[in-house]
Symmetry: C2
């Protein structure tokens, strides 16, 4: 059995406020079913709040976000990056001193700086979080209980991080069933530029290279695209505004990853141009070995 | 009910020789279960032939490939590209006049030229085929009955193609449950360079950019790679020799696709470098629209 988190308030079951009930927020509520947390959920649209209450996504809601924040032991802001920062600033005075605020944003340096700046003066702790989970879909109705199953979650530590707050956030994500990895904010942003953000740029470039053509060519290419293209381009179907905001808030690291990819791609292009097929095959073999080892790790090896 | 193909030989059930029982050959045998074809199967390794007979992948085998080819109304060469061309030349005299030979190779110009050169003098017809089906796995034990379900299959027509042979190959693939698309050999090779081959090069470049680094960085990146990376890089786990052979036999078209992708990627890189996020978001929106429309087509729309 998982131990209940005993909060400073003396309640046995922690109040978790999930702010934003899109894919990540609603899936988080679902993943907490049966766990010892009371789920206070809020999102802008009243009909989504009703849907979430009716479908056991959350336990309690309100049209007054402030009343929920005031009750929360831990708040997880499941919003787009600009909204996370806007809500921190707007509602900074609403949380009780000793409460902990976290988020699920894909970049951490700008968000954690904002959280610490506006919340510490109110005696509220901010710990950045980033679950490596998502699909190309978005919105509450794309949510599902297993979204976070076996995902890894980055939790940030800075010079101002309070150990008890960090522990609370770690234990929360462990209870959800994820694997927690502690990381610095800048280190995080450079990391995900390589492991995640760059993929969105090349999937987009591929989609455009293949499908952005005259209609006659496109009709033929529709037939020529199969499961390889489907998977390589999948994330192109993600929300455009979300990816704009992620890149906008992580530009230097993304640019570094963009150049790293370009260098690797250029090298492969030259092998093809020079008909150096032995070396090309060696590169394919190296790539297969690298990816198969990672898949082995993800499947429980390591 | 599907009509039985009546062959020139007068038999009611056509003899289909499946040469090569790897992922594509063995899956083809499985897909033909319950269809009015007698499946003659051959592959180099005797234990795979036994496995295929024991698992209803084929109906008949032999350690003598020539005896099977002599009985075949239609032969489908399910081999790597160099082996397809080698077998055509080696066994050209083994088929009966009037028999039809086809293949599943990912390039068509070199294979069809070889097929016509060596088989027409023997009164045997060659029609190139290329089912857009496969996974990153290979070998007989990766085979499954549904590999070809709803796949599109390119069937080539040249100045030397005999209409009855083309019809036989078309009807065969329709019986398997695929959608047949007729195409010229050069047009095919240019098409798949864009819709398939290029994806393998950029998935490889991505895998190297993300995972080919010092072990400490790699350990962290293992955590930072999630479903986005998994899918974008999936085809990197394909057989290296196969992709070397495909690119080697389609170099000019692949190089054209490599350059098309590079131009698109370069444009996106510049938007990021210049912090032109409005235009970047517009590109993300365009890409999403293009891919979602293709997915709609694949899911039965159009």
């Amino acid at each position: 059995m998982k131990a209940r988190i005993t909060m400073a308030t003396g309640t046995e079951t922690a109040n978790i406020a999930i702010i934003g009930l899109g894919l990540l927020g609603a899936s988080l509520g679902m993943a907490l079913r049966g766990k010892p947390y009371r789920r206070l959920g809020w999102t802008r649209r009243a009909e989504v709040r009703s849907w979430a209450l009716a479908n056991d996504v959350i336990d309690e809601s309100s049209d007054d976000i402030k009343s929920l924040l005031a009750k929360a032991d831990l708040t997880v802001l499941c919003l787009p990056i600009p909204r996370i920062m806007e809500y921190i600033e707007t509602y900074a005075a609403c949380w009780r001193p000793g409460a902990v605020v976290s988020d699920i944003g894909s970049v951490k340096e700008v968000i954690v700086a904002c959280g610490e700046k506006f919340l510490i003066p109110h005696g509220v702790d901010f710990v950045g979080g980033h679950p490596m989970a998502g699909t190309e879909k978005s919105g509450p109705y794309a949510a599902f209980e297993k979204l976070y199953a076996q995902a890894e979650v980055f939790v940030t530590r800075t010079a101002d991080t309070v150990p008890a707050a960090l522990r609370l956030v770690r234990e929360f994500w462990q209870a959800v069933g994820t694997k927690v990895v502690e990381i610095g904010v800048r280190e995080h942003d450079i990391l995900v530029a390589h492991t995640s953000h760059i993929s969105h740029i090349l999937a987009l470039a591929l989609t455009e290279a293949v499908l952005d053509c005259d209609l006659k060519t496109q009709a033929l290419r529709y037939s020529g695209c199969a499961t390889g293209f489907r998977d390589t381009s999948r994330i192109t179907s993600s929300a455009p505004s979300m990816w704009r905001e992620i890149i906008e808030n992580n530009q230097p690291a993304v640019l570094e990853a963009v150049r790293e990819f370009a260098a690797r791609y250029q090298k492969l292009s030259e092998l093809i141009e020079n008909r150096d097929y032995d070396q090309l095959e060696a590169e394919f073999a190296k790539g297969k070995k690298l990816r198969d080892a990672w898949i082995g790790y993800k499947n429980g090896g390591q």
